[in-house]
Symmetry: D2
Subunit: 340 residues, 4 copies
Amino acid sequence: MLKIAIIGAGRIGAVHAKTVAEHPDAQLILVSDPFGDNAADVAACYGARSTKDVAAVFAADDVDAVIIGSPTPTHVDHIVCAVQSGKAVLCEKPVDLSMKRVDECLAAIAGKEDSVMIGFNRRFDPTFAEIRARVAHGEIGPLEQLTIISRDPAAPPVAYLADSGGIFRDMTIHDFDTARYFLGEIVEVSATGQTLDPAFRGSGDFDAAVVTLTAASGAVATIINSRHCASGYDQRLEAFGPLGMLEAVNQLATSVRYSGRKQSSADGPYLDFFLQRYAEAYRLELGHFIESVTHGTAPSPSILDGRAALVLSDAATRSARTGERVAVGSPSPRVAVPVR
Amino acid sequence: MLKIAIIGAGRIGAVHAKTVAEHPDAQLILVSDPFGDNAADVAACYGARSTKDVAAVFAADDVDAVIIGSPTPTHVDHIVCAVQSGKAVLCEKPVDLSMKRVDECLAAIAGKEDSVMIGFNRRFDPTFAEIRARVAHGEIGPLEQLTIISRDPAAPPVAYLADSGGIFRDMTIHDFDTARYFLGEIVEVSATGQTLDPAFRGSGDFDAAVVTLTAASGAVATIINSRHCASGYDQRLEAFGPLGMLEAVNQLATSVRYSGRKQSSADGPYLDFFLQRYAEAYRLELGHFIESVTHGTAPSPSILDGRAALVLSDAATRSARTGERVAVGSPSPRVAVPVR
Amino acid sequence: MLKIAIIGAGRIGAVHAKTVAEHPDAQLILVSDPFGDNAADVAACYGARSTKDVAAVFAADDVDAVIIGSPTPTHVDHIVCAVQSGKAVLCEKPVDLSMKRVDECLAAIAGKEDSVMIGFNRRFDPTFAEIRARVAHGEIGPLEQLTIISRDPAAPPVAYLADSGGIFRDMTIHDFDTARYFLGEIVEVSATGQTLDPAFRGSGDFDAAVVTLTAASGAVATIINSRHCASGYDQRLEAFGPLGMLEAVNQLATSVRYSGRKQSSADGPYLDFFLQRYAEAYRLELGHFIESVTHGTAPSPSILDGRAALVLSDAATRSARTGERVAVGSPSPRVAVPVR
Amino acid sequence: MLKIAIIGAGRIGAVHAKTVAEHPDAQLILVSDPFGDNAADVAACYGARSTKDVAAVFAADDVDAVIIGSPTPTHVDHIVCAVQSGKAVLCEKPVDLSMKRVDECLAAIAGKEDSVMIGFNRRFDPTFAEIRARVAHGEIGPLEQLTIISRDPAAPPVAYLADSGGIFRDMTIHDFDTARYFLGEIVEVSATGQTLDPAFRGSGDFDAAVVTLTAASGAVATIINSRHCASGYDQRLEAFGPLGMLEAVNQLATSVRYSGRKQSSADGPYLDFFLQRYAEAYRLELGHFIESVTHGTAPSPSILDGRAALVLSDAATRSARTGERVAVGSPSPRVAVPVR
């Protein structure tokens, strides 16, 4: 029975708390959040203790592992403290918005990188995972073109975005990890940003983007992002090879289909947003984390995967601003094995 | 070069005229219609002669074959005259609404049944034909359940329906032929009629129906009909066997798909009505007729197939009125070979 | 907090136990099963007591409600004992295979019918429920034709079927309830049975069937059943009215779509079987039961709905054997309100 | 009755000859081809004259308009001669592979540009045209992202490709025109080329590519190309705006859908290749040409549209080789009006 503490009792922390509570091999021990009653409220649902002082988490002898769902700027501190106090870590993406801070984090936990897993939850989505497995099994031949269409239902508040690091570090970073998950080492990045909503003008940020990634294998990934989408959370992926194509199509809230005077075979809305679309992925992600801690194996995606996704985010940011294609010189020490 | 005359220059006659004109091995010679300028108008488009007197068709030495698209009550007379004057015949369904008249027709052309083909055009629809061929090839194993959903966009005028012989002889007759095309000999018919539109109350006719047919093989066909359908001409078929299922889904005018706030993946309207949905079937039907006449082989569907569909229509009419399942005692002398 | 006991610790009992355990307003107190360690095993997962003696359930003062998932022949006894000991009941379908026994049950609990809910779980399926709500809201106009296609992945063992009461009482009974859920009072039943698998020959039972139900409203429901389906658990429904159509299409395990040399846009397999396809329905069904007990309102589907579905099952059995359409004379005292 | 000559009696010439013959307002007068019996064979089908000497076309007094389907290097000469002899021209794409030659052509026909239409047939595809019309009508709001996926079933012979001008001038040029048709003026081009098939290594050409186009409006188009596709001719388009999305999905040879043990809802193959997929577009393209000549209006796409697509092809070629985003400085004098 793995004893788990959660840092951050916001929306994502509550999801993790419930998932931990339902997992047969884990127990929620402690919830930490500095604001109001958040920690106490979440803890109460599952019979766990709560604290406003995060130091209590690192000091707790009965905590084996920590899930970090606090704001991004605190991630590195929490990772380092947790690792140094001997606890395993599952940290939400991104590790940090600054490459320098990420590298400081890596230096601080040198030799214990395998204690840290990064929450790129899409790797655990059954649909994406099935496609990757079938690609790896050779069903479509060597992967040649990967197309990821990823659009949010609506842009977050401008205040949130000001601290987000920009679309590539905040939103596309998930897709960069997905691209690496399928294609392995990326060698070149070319990005085009769009500022469609006038609210984004002058922010230096974009609210839509197209990114082209070239892999060492010669395969190319295209990522198409938008901060808004009228029909909801648009999450598609298309893996194309010489023998065929595997697509992840959008998932729907129900399987009702309507036909009427103007339309035939109209499906209902997509699953609402990431908490619904990736509900199963959160469960499987936690299961993998618990299993890797329990068995003492390295979790994946690792903190180096977290760094690699940030490398691509930085490269895309530079490419979108300069119009140049950016070579990604130093491959991550341990990239995911490319699928081919 | 097969020289062809067309009797009846209405909507369906015009379709046949164009199809004949475009066929490389056929020539439109003569068009006959007693009303106004119909015959002359159609003939003029293709450089053919025209007449108001149908007798001129049977007397014409340069006519090898006749396509009968005149009103149903004239079919038997025109078939008999055409056959007796040595011409091959392609006659629109039904042969007649009265079984007695059909049998008189058969008696009159005894020995020359192979001169007559009946225009059950759906047999030539590439989608239905592909499904039948794949069933025959064993792809889904022995056919166990056949489901036909066939709905018209809107009911014809009541005046038309008064002479139609009722829904089973006028509309379902196509589906009865399709059922025989897939299942061969039918031994029992059970029908339920509906009168949904108040205009049909007291007419003795129905505007919707469900029919269950049991084949000699043990397979069962279900036919679901309606005289109206908001989303257009609903033409589906589903062949189910122990190894799988083959469906004919509706066909669309374009391949545009819409996603918006309320609906995702909404297709556009179906192909408009039978002239659009079965346009290719009309071409292939004529091609088969021309080929069978040219090569001296028996055309299919034959006039006996026309009779057999009427037998099922009569049985369904009786079943819907009495609530009894009706045994279909005397199988047609030469039914289509069942697919299994 | 509603305190619940479960009678029967087999497959369905285990599902209910987990659902109770996860429900915030319910507590699993006691599990009863006469065989081996079943009860103890299930109880242990959720910290409940267990017993091999069902009498202990009715005697337990701390049990408010009982979920009956034991074999069908025990349902009536358990319902009567539970009601007489003042407990609310959620009983799996069917109430019993014998109408006489059902009526004895109703007599024994007279005045307390509202204590009993029958587990027709499909009413709680979000897809079916959405369609019914949209029909009720007038989206497609008055319901005219309802088509239910319901096929199991594979036939159960012959030994099981010998005690099942036949396909109409065992399998179609779900679809009869669905038809009543949409159409209200049914006045006529016509059924055709098929014995496709030689193993069913001579059993007096069928392994496939087509049933036509006529509602008092004039609407017609068609049910197409098979005990086997190569592509899995085929669960479709189509509600057709003058303004449009609402379909429940099959649900898939993932949203992966494959295109290759021979096929384009091939979806993966359906959700496996009823435990997967109706997982959410089981949760919502229990939620409705808990809420109705807690608030003292009548649960639905009621035991009279259970009886009404059996009336249709008996009528279909007779129709399939005799070839007659069977009038369903005495409507249930309180049928579901028809949707129109 | 417009009298038409065809230059080039190869595959595309034969398509045009048939289309002219079937058009009610046009007559095929003359077919020219220097090789073997090509011209005579095609001409014989439709009662036209034939010649091996293209000069006879320009000299023919009874020819009003010329369709040029000869090899690309001859296009400019034929356009100039035809225009100078007072004939209207419909020329297959591209005008020429060399911008210098295109500009020489424009100089030679200065003042008579409206005599020349370029055969970008996809503008006439009913599906693409419907999407453009619905975008123009505001159905999805201002167009923000356009995604074009365009893959051929199989690469042409290497010998053909050597003279093709490379993938961007030969294949993507269609997609560049489609992008301009939707987005109007393009200001920046970024392209990534792939050489997947070893046969392409060292050729300087690519067999797959991803191109990003930025429009003056701020909209971005992404084009994904491949010279091969296992599932056939993959022709998709997706127009995305703030109010919704309109997609062109692939079109199928029949509407048969298969479900079996491993797959559910598997569609059949796509329409074979461009002659099938764009059959209706060829007809509508010719109709527009005939109408514009007859009414003396400027045809569209114009020769300036042909030049503009070549500008984008050249820019993509340079971008793919250098890794730079290429600004497209001088917009075409008369671009298509952007849709927004």
